[in-house]
């Protein structure tokens, strides 16, 4: 055990040392081999200028090389490879054409997952953004708002599995006549209702209870970003509207919302991406039982089911990727626009 900790620390040291050595070493080599005092056509001023130019041309790539290598190996190559694997069988060796896609669209579990993912996509970003906006607006005007924001932000730090344990305890069910230790059932009982085994209530409601967990986590994120955007609204705008006799509700809907709309869109898309990849919560709470399956969990299932099916797993991954692409393009266009105004 101590050996393992020591191993990790040594790795940090070796890793950092290797990075430093690489960056320092390659720079040193570059300066040496192409330096003005280096070998080559010494004394010839034109050649030296040429070498100088060459050095400035090479150096950025030395700085970039390790990052490009890791991103290439761990992100870009896999995207291409996953796409290739969708056309192959479970071992990735025999070409099957569109067989995996045909399988997917006829598979009831896959259809179920697509349907559930759509529900997640509609409900979670909407609720998280709405709650985030409400908290951001409310907290700005109350003296203990900062504490409130901290507490609502806190779930952001908790892992999806940790959150699943927390909420599984909230949803706990002990049989109809027993004393309930899950707070949801206790509340239901208090109002004279019948305790429920929440996780088995099909259709929809058990999925909805899983979505609540993600809303609980993501609201803090929405709140922080929207709160910053609200503070960026010029005071004069609101002042002017108030002098014109606009009601608070109208100021909120006609001035605040339009002003921060671009930010709302950013929050929305960011949460959308989290939702598309949602996996841990479903795995820990139901593992896709009782019609709660989602794409990422189904893919995980196929990665290991019966020794793993690379073709089908990849096909499901591609479906997630396709859903992300519009957001990706939009992000890149926004970034390019900003680049232009810099």
């Amino acid at each position: 055990m101590w050996l393992q900790i020591a191993g990790a620390l040594v790795t940090v040291v070796i890793g950092v040392a290797a990075c430093v050595l690489y960056f320092w070493g390659t720079n040193w080599v570059l300066d040496r081999t192409l330096g003005t005092s280096g070998a080559g056509a010494a004394g010839d001023g034109v050649a030296t200028a040429g070498q100088d130019k060459l050095r400035t041309r090479i150096r950025p790539w030395l700085f970039l090389a390790p990052a490009l290598f890791f991103m290439g190996l761990y992100l870009i190559y896999p995207v291409v490879e996953t796409l290739r694997l969708t056309f192959f069988d479970r071992f990735g060796t025999n070409y099957v054409g569109f067989g995996n896609y045909i399988w997917a669209f006829n598979d009831p579990q896959f259809q179920q997952s697509i349907f559930n993912n759509l529900l997640w996509l509609i409900i979670v970003p909407t609720l998280a953004t709405a709650f985030g906006l409400i908290v951001a607006v409310l907290a700005d005007r109350i003296w203990w708002g900062q504490v409130a924001k901290s507490l609502i932000f806190m779930p952001m730090a908790i892992s999806f599995v940790g959150a699943s344990v927390i909420w599984k305890f909230v949803y706990d069910y002990r049989g109809t006549n027993a004393d309930q230790i899950g707070i949801l059932n206790a509340i239901v009982q208090m109002f004279g209702g019948e305790p429920q085994a929440w996780m088995t209530i099909t259709p929809f409601w058990n999925s909805f209870l899983l979505m609540i967990i993600l809303v609980w986590i993501q609201t803090g994120f929405a709140m922080v970003i929207l709160s910053a955007a609200l503070r960026g609204i010029p005071e004069e705008t609101i002042e002017a509207a108030r002098i014109d006799g606009a009601s608070d509700i109208r100021i909120f809907f006609d001035i605040m919302i339009p002003q921060i709309f671009p930010t709302i869109l950013v929050v929305w898309t960011t949460i959308t991406i989290v939702v598309l990849k949602i996996f841990d919560i479903v795995l820990a709470m139901t593992n896709g039982q009782w019609d709660t399956q989602v794409l990422a969990n189904l893919m995980f299932d196929w990665m290991f089911r019966g020794g793993g099916d690379a073709g089908r797993g990849s096909t499901i991954a591609i479906c997630i990727m396709i859903a992300v692409i519009p957001i990706m393009i939009w992000n890149i266009r926004q970034a390019n626009k900003e680049e232009g105004t810099r």
Partner: protein, 401 residues
């Protein structure tokens, strides 16, 4: 966790923003706002509070009553056997038996008691009841009782029934158990083993790349920035199968293991780089241009400028990313499950917790304590470094418009 009670009067602020003064007009609306926010805060904190309180409760109490009842005395019906008749002694011409309902003192009290199982709350503690076997009995609140009779007691077995008041019991036993016998302690170490290198290594690599993208001019720079923004949102799921196959292939060729710490460190490095470069580049690009230029004039090389000026100045951005990456790696389940084994020496906290959810699904004393151990470190990081975390979030979301 402190609960905040709502006060209706707002403290006056010297600097009042337009938004605040816009709201300051309201009075009834203000109260509604306070209550609404309070309600939201309660809903958001109660689940975590329940977990925390339950994790220090006695495991028998945990399964029989809700955690919200844990701070008050709980009541339970119990039966106690009376001592056998031959323990009686003669005192002043009367036959007496003394004893205690709670032979081993556990701080419990008698609230009410009775001589029949159908009516355990017949009399209050301290009252005297007639015994069916003849004579009288008095049970005191502390559990001691005395039986008095003019004639000798004669019975085989007799019982009394009490409503016992059980005081709340808090204990760290659950934590001791999960840390030792349930393997959470070992997983804690494993999580650290994964997290620390996976946080440090990408920072260095990203910092150099970010500097190049921010302050060096070279062909395809714009394209690379666009690529990184694109890679920010590529789902992790795209990488899993090819990398798993690659790792298995390498292990097959070299005869080594396919699930290693080195493998997961490098994987987290690769997955974390786009965000790291993006955050750091944005920050570095906003550093004042004049400093760079004057340093260039003085003949400093890019390498020198980077190490002596840009790196120290970029500390806030480095800290932001470090927190992100630390939380992300610590909380990750998917990458750890795919690239690390489930054996004692490799299973991380999240994976262990998931395993416990399956195997010990009803042992809430283990699950609550285990979950709290796993969320303790991120919560500490979060509360102590929230400022950097928020700054990173604000910088990390691609600004619209």
């Amino acid at each position: 966790m402190t609960t905040i009670t709502s006060g209706t009067a707002a403290t006056p602020r010297t600097e009042r923003s337009a938004i605040a003064s816009w709201f300051a007009q309201l009075t009834a609306g203000k109260i509604v706002a306070q209550l609404a926010l309070l309600l939201l805060v309660v809903v958001w904190t109660v689940p975590t509070a329940g977990l925390l309180i339950s994790s220090v409760r006695d495991k028998d109490q945990l399964t029989t009553s809700g955690w919200w009842e844990s701070l008050v005395m709980s009541e339970a019906n119990e039966a106690a056997s009376l001592p056998p008749a031959d323990t009686q002694v003669e005192e002043n011409g009367q036959y007496v038996i003394r004893g205690s309902v709670f032979p081993e003192d556990e701080g419990r009290t008698v609230v009410r008691y009775g001589t029949s199982i159908n009516n355990p709350s017949e009399a209050a503690a301290g009252d005297t009841l007639d015994l069916r076997t003849g004579g009288e009995i008095t049970v005191n609140a502390d559990g001691t009782f005395g039986m008095v009779s003019a004639a000798p007691f004669e019975y085989d077995r007799a019982r009394i029934f009490v409503v016992a008041g059980i005081p709340p019991r808090f204990t760290i036993e659950n934590y001791v158990e999960v840390l030792t016998s349930e393997g959470i302690g070992r997983s804690f170490i494993n999580s650290f083993t994964v997290t620390v290198p996976a946080t440090v290594i990408p920072i260095l690599i990203a910092a150099f790349a970010a500097y190049a993208l921010a302050w060096m001019s070279f062909p395809f720079r714009g394209l690379l920035v666009a690529l990184i923004v694109g890679l920010l949102v590529v789902p992790l799921q795209m990488s899993l199968i090819p990398l798993l196959r690659m790792y298995n292939g390498i292990a097959g060729l070299t005869g080594g293991a396919s699930k290693t710490y080195l493998g997961i460190w490098l994987a987290h490095t690769g997955f974390g780089l786009p965000l790291a470069i993006y955050l750091l580049r944005n920050y570095m690009a906003s550093l004042p241009k004049e400093i760079m230029e004057s340093a260039r004039m003085d003949g400093a090389s890019h390498f020198q400028i980077f190490t002596t000026m840009v790196l120290p100045l970029s500390f806030p951005a480095l800290a932001s990313f470090a927190i992100f990456q630390f939380l992300w790696v610590w909380n990750d389940l998917l990458v750890a499950t795919v690239f690390l084994g489930n054996n004692e020496g490799q299973i991380v906290l999240t994976a262990r917790l998931r395993e416990l959810l399956g195997s010990r699904g009803d042992n809430w004393e283990i699950l609550t304590a285990g979950a709290f151990v796993s969320i303790f470190v991120p919560l500490m990081v979060f509360f102590s470094l929230q400022r950097y975390f928020v700054r990173g979030l604000l910088a990390g979301s691609v600004k619209g418009g």
